[in-house]
Structure formats: C-alpha cells, structure tokens
C-alpha cells in the first residue's frame, strides 16, 4: 500500500500527485480496531459510581463556544462527505458545496482562534503536569483532561493543515470572484494535494475517536455540556480538581 501517488509532469519528470486513497480504508480499520479494543478494555474495568447529573449545575461551555463547535462539526461533515464520497465511487456535483463548507470552516476557526485570546488559554495547553494526570488516576485535571487537550491539539494541527492546503487549492480553481490562475507548478500542486489528503485522513481517524469517546457512557456528560452548556456540581467534583477549575454555578 502506497502513501502517495505520483505522476509525470508536462516535462516528463515524476512529481507528487497526492495522497494514496487506499490509506482511507487503513485509517478506518485502525480507528475501529482501537475503538473495539478500548470498548473491551472498558467493559472489563472496575468503574467508580457514575455521579448524578441532578442538583446544582456549573457552566462548562458558553453558548457561543457551543455554537462554534457544532458549526465546525457540521462543516467538517459536509467537507468529508463531499470530499470522500466521490473518491469511493458515489459521484455528484461536489466541488461547490465543498469549497463553500471550507469557507465556513475557515471563518469559524479564525473566530475560534481570535476568541481563544480572550479565554484562559492555559486550560487547553498541554504541559508536564498532564503527564502526571494521565499516569495517576487520583490526580484530577482542571477544565480539560490530558486526553481532551491532546485531542484538541491534534485536531487543531490537522484542521490548520487541511484549511491551509484547502485555501491554496481554492485559489487554483475558478470561483465567482476570480478566474483559474494556474500559478503553481505541478510539483507544488502535488505537495498541496498530498498535505490536504493526508491531513484529511488524519482528521477522519481522529473524528472517529472523538465521536466514540463523546458517546461513551462515562463521557456522555461532556457531550451534554457541549449541547446544553452545563455539568452538575457532582460531576465536577468527581472528574475535576476545583483548585484548578472552579466555574460559576448556573441556573
């Protein structure tokens, strides 16, 4: 199985053409092997009693951040469907929908980056203390666990790569605002296609895991908080160190 595909450019020189989409099946299989393995491990593990969602509630996600998350999720799904379906043989006029969804994703990501400067950036930053938390179950995290921070970091890198390469590709096609410029060499185009493809494959794997963890029974309260905004005081006590994260109560 190849990682990349190559082609001859107009001068007969071999150049990169893009990612090998055979890797798509490898990514999906690996993601599902991990999910199956983790699910089996979790069913055999002794679990502490699930904290109640009743009683006092604390605010975890502002409405604007929840909106960002779901708009981003929606645009990523549209991008994956329009990008991947034609590759696996489900053909339709995908390109315009794809770049429109790409613009939406770019706008919400830029918004998120700008907004993050008004928020507590350190709550999402990975540091040496996260290693201690990951290895010792008795050490509770602040607002985000090491796993959540790692997921955020990987998604951030892959999303920035996919947006960056996608914008370059977008500039190379005809749109209502400009004609096709043909401004890149074939070797550069191939590299851009490769980066776009490989970061897409990475995102597919990470999104599979993200959805799996979001639906796991013991993590479901995080998903609820991404919809409704709150977690209960009991859930906060059970999973977080209030010295490091002590949010306001909400009604």
């Amino acid at each position: 199985m190849d990682i990349a595909t190559y082609k001859d450019d107009v001068w007969g020189q071999e150049v990169l053409n893009g990612v090998s989409w055979d890797l798509l099946w490898l990514v999906i299989v690996l993601a599902f092997i991990f999910i199956a393995g983790h699910a089996i491990y979790e069913t055999t593990r002794k679990r502490a009693q699930k904290p109640s969602s009743k009683g006092a509630r604390v605010n975890r996600h502002e409405a604007i951040d929840r909106l960002f998350h779901w708009v981003m999720a929606g645009s990523v799904f549209v991008l994956l469907i329009t990008g991947i379906f034609p590759i696996i043989g489900l053909n339709f006029a995908w390109l315009e929908i794809h770049w429109i969804a790409g613009i939406i994703l770019t706008i919400v990501v830029v918004f998120h980056i700008l907004r993050s400067f008004t928020q507590d950036l350190s709550s999402m930053a990975l540091g040496p203390s996260d290693l201690k938390e990951a290895l010792d179950e008795t050490v509770k995290p602040g607002k985000y666990s090491p796993a959540q921070k790692s997921m955020h970091m990987v998604v951030s890198i892959l999303t920035l790569l996919v947006i960056g390469s996608g914008l370059i590709m977008f500039l190379q096609i005809e749109t209502p605002w400009w004609e096709r410029p043909n401004s890149l060499s074939e070797a550069t185009l191939g590299l851009v296609f490769f980066v776009h493809g490989i970061s897409t494959l990475g995102l597919i794997g990470v999104i599979c895991l993200h959805i799996y963890f979001g639906l796991r029974p013991e993590k479901l309260f995080y998903t609820r908080s991404m919809i409704k905004g709150w977690i209960s005081r009991e859930e906060l006590n059970a999973h977080h160190d209030q010295q490091r994260w002590n949010p306001d109560e909400t009604t």
Binding site: D8, N17, P86, F92, W94, L95, I173, N182, E186, L189
Partner: protein, 329 residues
C-alpha cells in the same frame, strides 16, 4: 510521448451472447475495455495512453444490433453501425435529426464500422489528455488546456469544472433533442437513463464522459414517439467539411402548433463536456413563429452564461448564429 507502430498485446474476448459479455465486463471491471467499431479505441491503445487488460468485442452480439420499432417509438441496438442508421427508412422518415447527425460523423469509412454506442461513449478529443498527460481527467490535479498559453480553441465555453474538455459526439446532441433514453445493462439487471443523465460533466465525474459504471454495457438507445416526424434542424460547423469533430453543432426538435412553436429542444454540441441544452432558448421560442424576427430575438440567448477560454471566443457567435439559422424557417 513515445510513438508506436504496432498495437500492444491485449487479450480479446468475442462473446456471441450479451450475458457472456456482461459476465466478462463484470469480471474485468475497469480493467476491461468495451469495443464497438474501435475508432476511438485503437488510437488510445496504439499510443499506450490507455492500457486495458482485455477487450470485449461487442460486434458479434446479435442482441446489440439492429433497429426495431416499439410501441413507444424506436429502439436501436448500441452496436448498430452508423451507416445502417443513416440508411434506415423509418429513421429517415420519423427521426431524420438522428440520421442527419449520424451522416456527419467522421468519414464514410468510419461510419461503416463506427457504432452508435461507440459514438455516444467515445472519449473527449482534448489533445493534452489524449497525448497521455496526467491531467485532471487522467487522475491528475491540473488542466493543461485551461492556462494562459494553452491551446484551447476547441474546448468548452460552458459547464467546465476544472476540466475544460468537450463531448465530441455528433449523435449525442440529436438524441438529447429527441428525448432518447439509454439502456445500460449489467449482470444484475438494467438501468434506463435519460440521455441528459447519461452524459456526465466534470463537476460530477471528472474521469468519465458517461454515467456507465465499470461492468456496465450500453445495450440500446430508445427514441420515444414524442418527437416523431416533427420539425428538425441539424447543423455542424467544423474546420473541414469531412472527417472532423464539431467546433459547434446544433440539434433542434420543434413541435409545431399551426405555424407556432409549441415545444422544442435546442441542443448544442462542442461547447461543453456534455451535449448542452439551451433551455433559455427553448422557453423563449415557445409560441413564436419561425421567422427572421424570432431568430434575431432569441439568438443572443444561446450564449448566455458562457465563459470562453483564451482561444474559443468565436464559439459564442457560432452558437448564436446556429440558433438564428434554426429559427429562420
């Protein structure tokens, strides 16, 4: 690109039954090559620009041959040669648009072996693509024909999406104007596609010209009675009057109510990756008579929405003038 004097070695199957051909097509999938008259095929193979594992010769299959009258019009086997369509009395009487279009395909020698199915399914003539360059259509990530220095005189003026190649088929425009349907068969059954859905543009499938899937065979073309013996107009403009592909062509069917146009189909060839229906012209001519005034009124609509490339602006007045000539009566 290297040039070759001889054909490459390729396995040849010559089934006598459609079922056998379908099984072979199913087994070979995209490694197989369906052979009609071979007029598009042999160039690809000789140049090694396409290298199928095996060819399935459809010419010995009786079910794919012949022109038959049906309850709803006419059915033409996909392996029927163009000469037989041109000479068929029923087609000449009821669907002369098709026989006119078929009579302008290439040369008499090619029409003697070229099949209707082959003419409809043939690949584009974009020379960058046919030279074997790895363009979008060949699985690459660039269109060599759409650049500041590209030779794109024959290319698309509308409907392009990354690839700017055009459909070269003369009979395709006529069949679209006749509301024909295409019967595609595979080992599990058959699909009947409207001609408009049979031809696919690069926005939907950048490496294919038709909706035929690997393993499928175009078995027949059905023409409904709707347009039988109606008023037709066909014209093809090419660099040479014989043996050339259309720069722009037009196929028109008109149902008349007295001296007024009740319904019509205007289809242009050579301007897009698929035969291009001029729906705005069709709407504008409804209720009009055939006259110079009508012609002048609707002709400018023909090129609406077109975006010419560097060297094919001439196609826009050609489209308009062909509509004008069709409307003069």
């Amino acid at each position: 690109m290297a040039s070759f004097d001889v054909m490459p070695e390729v396995q040849l199957f010559q089934p006598a039954e459609l079922d056998d051909a379908l099984k072979l097509a199913d087994e070979l999938g995209s490694d197989g090559w369906l052979l009609g008259g071979g007029q598009d095929t042999y160039g690809w193979l000789k140049d090694r620009a396409k290298q199928p594992r095996a060819m399935i010769d459809l010419n010995g299959i009786e079910a794919l041959q012949g022109i038959r009258k049906t309850d709803d019009g006419m059915e033409i086997g996909a392996a029927t040669i163009l000469r037989d369509i041109i000479r068929n009395e029923d087609i000449n009487r009821d669907y002369s648009l098709l026989s006119q279009a078929a009579s302008r395909v290439a040369s008499p020698q090619i029409r003697n072996v070229g099949t209707l199915g082959g003419n409809l399914s043939q690949d584009t003539r974009c020379w960058y693509y046919r030279r074997g360059l790895d363009c979008y259509r060949a699985g690459g990530n660039i269109c060599y024909a759409d650049g500041p220095q590209s030779m794109n005189r024959e290319h698309a003026v509308i409907g392009a999406s990354r690839c700017v190649a055009v459909s070269p088929s003369d009979t395709a425009t006529a069949l679209l104007a006749l509301d024909a349907t295409m019967v595609a068969e595979n080992t599990e059954g058959q699909r009947v596609l409207a001609a408009e859905d049979f031809f696919v543009g690069p926005n939907t499938h950048i490496t294919q010209m038709t909706a035929l899937k690997p393993g499928e065979i175009l078995s027949a073309i059905r023409i409904p009675k709707k347009w039988a013996s109606q008023r037709f107009y066909w014209e093809k403009v090419a660099d040479r009057d014989v043996w050339d592909f259309a720069l722009v062509s037009i196929a028109v069917s008109m149902a008349m109510d007295g001296n007024k146009i009740a319904d019509s189909r205007f289809v242009c060839g050579g301007v897009a990756c698929t035969p291009h229906r001029l729906t705005n012209v069709e709407q504008a001519v409804r209720g009009r008579t055939l006259s110079n005034e009508s012609a002048d009124a609707v002709a400018p609509l023909a090129s609406e929405g077109c975006k010419p490339l560097n060297y094919n602006h001439f196609k826009l007045p050609l489209m308009e003038n062909l509509v004008r000539r069709a409307m003069r009566g």
